[in-house]
């Protein structure tokens, strides 16, 4: 079997690292119900306890000419050009005006796309070389653990990060595992070398909340006090949201009037209240169509939104519902059958969901698959063609870029090559949907972060020094 982190291997029990120390922050409380609080911020009582310290790497003004550009925002531009300046896409089109000092790259008929975004990763929390010591993705000590934050488990020296970058992934969402009904907060990272996770955090990105349906929670907790059934799962979600509604009410009231002592803090309920306020995005691991429909009803009951269903092998059965509700489908091209709830997987899932008007996101949940999400999309395109639902390259590139950017609430910054957006760019050796193509160069915020042709432009984590006996190509 593949290393399916969502499956929670026996014994893979992570340790909690969420701080329980009293906070002495003086950040003023804000009523986030009516304002768009700072992105990535917790509204109460302290805004952003682990702020991003990311700064873009040094960049040079760069123009790539004579290149085919899939912008994810329009038709393929053949033999076009793109200009990256000050970390942003400064111009893109049939031709661009570049300053005299710009680095000029002849694309020579190759392809340029936006950086790939994987909205389902466990890099850093299930770091290589694996084993119990690095198994930090599932706080499998209670079925409801909204108090844990994935970033507190991320090891920035995970050698899987540079491999992802070499596969063209420029942004990823690292999620807690799926052992729990409510697994904790995700974190959105730039795939860049840093000494700390704060140095990788995407500035301004909202947090996500990981929830999980179905077989995993009941398998993990069936003999440990429950839930042991799907109905037990649903009772668990609802009980948590009932507490969260109550908590939010108390805090919103106090934030408004500041009367008396503030209510006592609860890390988990604080996270759930942020979801209810619309400041966090729900990423719900859910395979079966019928369960997705129930999770939608639960979201309606408590007034939150599900941003994307992850794994959704049966998304094609309710693609109309997903379209109506505006919920993304973060799915695989062709995984299935590794458990009962995955047995109805079909290769045409993505094509069918796209055809029904819902948002398709190619996700990985796998450190190997994440490096080749372009190939996953290509397989799904072929499956669509086979059933008479052809998918254009212009559409498929969206599955890899702007759609996951939307799932992370970052589609105003990344995910397409449009003037003013972050210059997260891949130059491919050929058509990105060919099995023979690979990223040749990858830029993040306009800085060249990976060059297949130049070993000095290839990131090595601390772990790799000495341990890994070759220069990866």
């Amino acid at each position: 079997m593949k290393a399916l982190f969502c499956l929670l291997l026996a014994g893979a029990v992570a340790c909690a690292s969420a701080s329980t120390q009293p906070t002495t922050s003086t950040t003023p409380a804000r009523d986030s119900a009516k304002s768009d609080v700072g992105l990535g911020a917790t509204s109460v009582p302290n805004a952003d306890p682990f702020p991003s310290t990311y700064v873009p790497f040094p960049s040079r003004t760069t123009v790539i000419r004579n290149v085919n550009i899939l912008t994810a925002a329009g038709p393929l531009i053949r033999n076009g050009a793109i200009l990256m300046q000050n970390g942003k896409v400064a111009a893109v089109g049939a031709s661009v005006n570049a300053p005299a000092d710009a680095v000029v790259i002849d694309g020579n008929g190759k392809y340029v796309t936006p950086g790939i975004i994987d909205d389902h990763s466990h890099l850093g929390v299930y770091a290589a070389p694996g084993g119990n010591a690095l198994s930090d993705g599932n706080e499998a000590t209670s079925p409801t653990t909204p108090q844990v934050w994935a970033e507190h488990s991320v090891w920035p020296q995970d050698p899987q990060f540079p491999r992802n970058l070499a596969g063209g992934v420029t942004t990823l969402q690292v999620l807690p595992g799926s052992a729990n009904l409510i697994g904790g907060r995700s974190v959105v990272l730039k795939v860049v070398p840093a000494r700390t996770v704060q140095g990788m955090k995407f500035p301004g990105a909202k947090y996500g909340l990981k929830m999980a349906c179905g077989e995993n929670p009941k398998r993990v907790y069936g003999n440990r006090g429950g839930p042991s059934t799907r109905m037990g799962n649903v009772a668990g979600y609802r009980a948590a949201w009932i507490r969260a509604v109550d908590y939010r009410k108390k805090w919103d009231k106090w934030n408004a009037d500041h009367k008396g002592d503030p209510p006592s803090r609860d890390l988990g309920l604080e996270t759930l209240a942020e979801v209810l306020r619309g400041n966090m995005l729900v990423h719900n691991h859910c395979y079966r169509a019928d369960e997705m429909a129930q999770m939608i009803d639960i979201a309606h009951e408590f007034g939150y939104k599900i941003r994307s269903f992850h794994h959704g092998v049966e998304a094609y059965k309710i693609a109309d519902l997903l379209a109506k509700e505006g919920i993304g489908a973060s799915i695989w091209a062709d995984w299935g059958s590794f458990k009962m709830e995955a047995m109805d997987a079909v290769k045409a899932n993505m094509a069918l969901v796209d055809h029904a008007g819902a948002r398709v996101i190619v996700h990985s949940d796998d450190p190997s698959g994440s490096q080749r999400l372009n190939q996953e999309a290509a397989k799904a395109m072929a499956a669509g063609a086979e059933i008479g639902l052809p998918v254009s390259e212009e559409t498929a590139i969206k599955w890899l870029t702007i759609n996951p950017a939307w799932a992370l609430g970052l589609d105003d910054k990344i995910g397409s090559l449009e003037t003013g957006k972050n210059a997260d760019v891949i130059l491919w050796t050929g058509d990105p949907f060919s099995v023979y193509s690979k990223p040749e160069k990858v830029w993040i915020d306009g800085a060249l972060m990976y060059d297949r042709t130049d070993p000095t432009e290839q990131w090595r984590t601390d772990f790799e020094l000495g341990f890994v006996p070759f220069n990866r190509n």
Partner: protein, 431 residues
């Protein structure tokens, strides 16, 4: 929704193919670019299959009267692909479904007598999707313990397990490098244990009468396990050792030399680090081309170039899913072509990659006289591709196994038909 009329047309077409297959003893695939693998590619070639076997391959070969003609103009014709590391048909669902019949309990982690094919279900719903994507033979390998058991190579034909088997056993499978899985304390102890078992098998071979009279010392393995190991120490059955670290590969090679065992390396993540030595010892390697993660301390040197570098050094390489070593495939046995494409992308020649999914595994498992190439006398396992078999845009247009064409709907096809137009239909489609 697919209209009733279209369904009817599809039904009639399907009927025609089956009827034609049943009526004609011969099939002639004409006009395609033929890759026999055993020889040079043939432009505008013809492949003739008669009574289940290939009877002619070439440019100017006579086509038997009444042969069903398949026009392969502009297409690619290859032998059916052989996926040599699968657990297809021995458990359709990983967790929570019917039992997965891939490991034996054995005695002290030794299960040499375990014959995994007894658990093969010819009615598995995952067989048809693999065949539909060009896989015509596959190896099922047991996993777990120190000596996991015996692998079998089978054809993707309907019928019974007996009908499917091409060779069983095709290899004895064992793991070294993970002492814990073998129930032992260290690598060294694991080798000691394997050596003890092989020595006992040798002794058993020449002292069976004494054994039956209970006049031998106690053996490290049961009678059945020792018996199963006899063809291994006689050099008739390959011993496939799943091993990744360079030092473990070296240890496996020493052991094989000591007992004159025909060794096959499975996984071989760090094989590229000693490719010349593996080539000189003429030891074949089953490895993938889509894994570059130092996923454990035994495969720190894992890289996608491994397959290409081994081949370049002269090693017989068969490509398997995701670098082996516990990644035996079930659902995605069909993705072997993606593995081959990636192997090319990371340095293997295209011809070698095709060989690595056809003739190479057939040779490694001793069935090259039956499958893996397009030559007269071989089974009619032939695939017609719309283009480069490794490219995602290419489709399998025809797949023949033992001369019969298959194009039945898979369970996945039926699900797509049902939900293609929502809310979907829950009745049987018209027959």
């Amino acid at each position: 929704m697919i209209s009733y009329r279209n369904r009817l047309i599809a039904f009639i077409a399907a009927t025609f193919v089956i009827a034609a297959g049943a009526g004609a003893q011969s099939v002639a695939i004409v006009g395609g670019k033929v890759y026999p693998v055993s020889g040079a590619p043939i432009e505008n070639g013809t492949v003739v299959i008669t009574n289940g076997r290939i009877t002619a391959v070439g440019t100017n070969v006579p086509i038997p009267a009444g042969a069903q003609r398949i026009d392969a103009t502009g297409k690619i014709v290859t032998p059916g692909f052989v996926n040599s590391s699968t657990q297809l048909g021995v458990g359709d669902i990983g967790f929570g479904g019917p039992p997965v019949d891939v490991s034996a309990r054995g005695k002290d982690n030794v299960a040499a007598a375990f014959t995994i094919w007894e658990g093969l279900d010819p009615n598995s719903v995952l067989l048809a999707p693999a065949r539909k994507d060009g896989i015509t033979s596959f190896v099922i390998i047991p996993t777990g313990g120190l000596i996991s058991g015996q692998a079998a190579l089978v054809d993707l034909v309907p019928g019974t397990t007996t009908d499917m088997i091409v060779r069983a056993p095709a290899a004895m499978v064992a793991e070294i490098g993970d002492a814990q899985q073998g129930g032992l304390g260290s690598r060294g102890e694991l080798i000691v244990k394997l050596r003890e078992i092989l020595e006992d098998a040798r002794y058993f071979q020449t002292h069976r009468d004494a054994f039956d009279r209970a006049q031998t010392r106690p053996f490290a393995a049961s009678r059945l396990d020792l018996e199963a190991l006899l063809p291994v120490i006689e050099g008739k059955l390959p011993l496939m050792l799943t091993v990744n670290r360079e030092s473990d590969i070296d240890a496996a090679m020493r052991l094989a030399r000591e007992f004159n065992v025909k060794l096959v390396i499975g996984g071989g993540a760090e094989g590229w680090m000693m490719a010349d030595k593996i080539a000189a010892a003429r030891i074949p390697v089953l490895t993938g081309a889509m894994n570059n993660i130092p996923a454990d301390f035994s495969s720190l040197g894992q890289r996608q170039e491994n397959a290409g570098l081994l081949r370049k050094a002269g090693v017989q390489v068969a490509l398997i899913g995701n670098a082996g070593g516990g990644d035996e495939e079930t659902f995605n046995v069909r993705n072997l072509k993606q593995e081959a494409g990636n192997a090319v992308s990371y340095g293997m020649t295209w011809d070698d990659a095709l060989r690595a999914v056809t003739l190479a595994p057939a040779e490694i498992f001793g069935v090259a006289d039956r499958v893996g190439s397009l030559q007269p006398g071989r089974e009619g396992n032939v695939v017609v591709w719309s283009g480069d078999p490794f490219e995602f845009t290419s489709r399998v247009e025809h797949v023949f196994v033992r001369g019969r064409e298959y194009n039945e709907k898979t369970r996945q096809d039926l699900l797509v038909e049902r939900y293609r137009n929502l809310p979907g239909t829950h009745n049987q489609p018209p027959q």
